[in-house]
Amino acid sequence: MEIEAVITGFAGAAIISSFEQRGEIIYGSISMTEQGVILPFDVEIYPPYPFQFHDSESIRFINKELIAYDHINGDGSVCVHTLHHPELSEKLVLDLNGVRHWIIKYYINGQHDANYEHIVVNHKAINGQNNVFLFTDVDYTFKKGMHGRFTYSLLREGNWKKEIYTTLLVQKFKINGYQPVCKWSSAYHQIKENEGIFYFNDTPPVENRRFTVKSFHQLEGYFSQEFLRTLDSVRKQIRNAKYIEHIPLLLGYPIADSEIHWQAILIPINEFPNYGEKITGTNTWVGRLKEQPILWTQTRNSSYSYFFGRGAFHPKVTDAKILIIGIGAVGSMVATTIVRGGAKDVLVVDHDLKEPENICRSEYGFIPGLTAKATELSNRLSAISPFVEVKSSEGLTDLFKLVINGDDTRWRDSIKKHLDEFDIIFDCSTDNDIAFLLGDLDLGGDIFSLSITNHAKELICGTKQNLYGWLRQIFHQFDRDTEDLYGPAGCWNPTFKASYNDIAVLLQFALRHINYCYKESLPVRHFYLSCTEENQFDIKLTQF
């Protein structure tokens, strides 16, 4: 057999029991000798081998005695990820090398990784339903032994692989008169809340260093007696509760200097694990925990730093108070892009109604039907990120129109004061009156006035200095044909021709350029992007 030949030929490897196929899986066992250390492994090889199954290797090297070491899975298999190779013999050599390196690094040298490795939680669906608690940061320092109630809300039910996934948001903790609130945006605090209990310790609830304990009895020394009394009082309060089958218990512990993690247990309300035991010869009772399997359920740290950990805009954008005026194709894309990039405070402004024909090249959907663009977009932005405070206005630009030519400077001063509160203004209204007003008000924040030409051949971005004059000047230069506009049905509603892709490719380029300028502390100049389609598609940036 090819497998045995490869193993036999690998230095330090030997076959303990021959490889044989049972069903679809090939089983065998080997020993690996390294620097005088001999370790046995049961080997399981699955049908896709040498290819992966999704992100998992399809070969496993198992030794349950190694479970306390780093990079050992819950079933005792070594966590090896090796290079791709389409040939079995080559791939097996790579995998054996992976095991060998694990032995040297973690078994012989006893190395522990600097990066925190989350504990392994043996969670299971209950009646086909998985509960997942999402938690985020709170402005509160938990200490060992602290306990109390917490509240949570049902976010949504989903499905995966024929099981239900119920996503629950941890909302706030109730402890010693304080109620530290989870830092979701205000929209998420409007959802109806339920109650659970929590306990905080200085260590995770584990055995073998990294695996959650299996029985409540193993947690007897983990909890304080005070908490066990609280647990008992909760038991008495809810024992007759209808409509709920479980009450959640969150267990928190520190995993880094300023980071904590929570695990979750579901306690059946008709089967609490605690009981009291009288100490012989005394009148003292102590709280005990039964030998009862723990129903671990899932949690996710969904705090801002995790949510945007894979990529975000520069803090000069994410920490900014941002105004977006005009949320058509360009403005709505700006909004979703910056919110997906971590923006925390956004006001979207548009007086317009969303029509079905807007949808194909903007960030709107068909299901909400005809509705205010400002309302639909603000809902969508809140749905994207739980960390953005979104406000919307249909009337702000009306006010601009009233003050732009008015004699009453108080209104003008009031508008200026309001607009000066924003660190960044994206003017995507394509309204020359608004560009004129923004340029004229001498505002403190940055302004990006974004618009495109017909067929999205150019994207133009004017900034604060001489905004109106520059826009006029540059649009004189791009004297594009305006004969080929889309569907001028009537006297005055022609629009440009361009697809979502045509617009988005330019807009994303522009936003990346703006972000780059912030990152490098460069002044953001007027600029435009121009497309060429001679032999190949290309985008050129011209700065002023």
Partner: protein, 320 residues
């Protein structure tokens, strides 16, 4: 239609002539005289004669964002320290003018911005307190120490003194600006700086323009001469040394941070590239003073409208 760069630049210069704002100029002179008098009254024999030092004194002024710089030279014994001098003059001017003006501490000066008068005019006077370097010798050597209130390019706040002979600085610019067209170039650069809100000090721009004329053979029409100076700045601003004519130990180049120098070099690069690529772009950099539009440009601008004049509604061009 392409823009005639030289005609446009001539229009810009004409549009920014200081005499077009004679009324405002007179108001500045009046306020300047008033401040001189109150300072003299307050400090009596501790103060030598205050004098103008800004662009007006140097004949490089433009009529947009107008201000006067007023040097107040104090005697050596008038204050123990430069900081005390700066603070005392600020406190005095603040108390004197707080009800009619915004008075604030600036890099080396005290800014007094009077509230708009009935014509909507705003008078700005920057008072620069200085203390003579050597006891009793100011009248002979004109040397003054200035107090640096806040970070000034590479010079730290409060930690350093700028020692300068301001009179020599003024004379130097005046003398050099008499060179053919240098004054025009300086004025154009100031127009660019003022309209586009660039942070560079005028004194820096004046000195680097003078240096460009020293180092390069600057000839040709107005745009060619301006472009030659822009190229000099682009290529040299990061390394150039600009000794203060009033004190050769001061390098005025230090009044700009390395970052600002790099940005200034980029400003020049983009300006040259964009104007050469399309002459219309010159209008984005050198703006007319909208109060005094040039007649020629007005008629040229009108011709732009002809193309759309036949349409009942001009077509939209900006989309989003």
């Amino acid at each position: 239609m392409a823009t005639d760069k030289n005609k446009h630049l001539e229009c810009v210069l004409a549009s920014h002539k200081i005499r077009k704002k004679q009324n405002l100029l007179d108001k500045h002179i009046e306020k300047r005289n008033e401040i001189v008098n109150v300072l003299k009254e307050k400090y009596e024999s501790d103060l030598y004669d205050p004098f103008n030092s800004g662009s007006y004194a140097k004949n490089t002024a433009v009529n947009k964002k107008f201000d006067f710089d007023l040097i107040a030279p104090f005697k050596k014994g008038a204050f123990d320290t430069l900081e005390k001098m700066y603070t005392a003059v600020f406190d005095f001017l603040y108390e004197k003018y707080k009800d009619v003006a915004t008075v604030r501490k600036q890099k080396v000066s005290i800014g007094i911005e009077f509230f708009a008068d009935n014509d909507g005019d705003i008078v700005r006077i920057d008072v620069v307190p200085g203390r003579e370097l050597n006891q009793g010798q100011y009248k002979d050597d004109n040397k003054l120490n200035l107090y640096v209130y806040s970070q000034f390019g590479k010079i730290d706040a409060g930690s350093d003194r700028l020692r300068s002979n301001v009179n020599v600085q003024i004379q130097n610019i005046k003398d050099n600006a008499d060179k053919t067209s240098l004054r025009e170039i300086i004025r154009l650069l100031k127009v660019w700086k003022i309209h586009l809100g660039k942070p560079y000090k005028s004194f820096f721009i004046e000195l680097i323009a003078i240096k460009a004329f020293d180092k390069k053979d600057i000839t040709g029409d107005l745009w060619e001469r301006l472009k030659a100076v822009l190229e000099y700045i682009m290529d040299n601003v990061k390394e150039v040394s600009l000794p203060d004519p009033g004190n050769s130990n001061n390098d005025v180049a230090d009044s700009l941070s390395d970052f600002d120098k790099s940005t200034l070099s980029d400003d020049m690069k983009y300006m040259i590239e964009n104007v050469e690529a399309n002459s219309d772009n010159i209008k984005s950099y050198f703006l007319l003073n909208s109060e005094f539009p040039c007649e020629e440009e007005k008629s040229s601008n009108n011709r732009y409208g002809e193309k759309a004049a036949g349409l009942s509604i001009p077509p939209p061009k900006r989309f989003g």
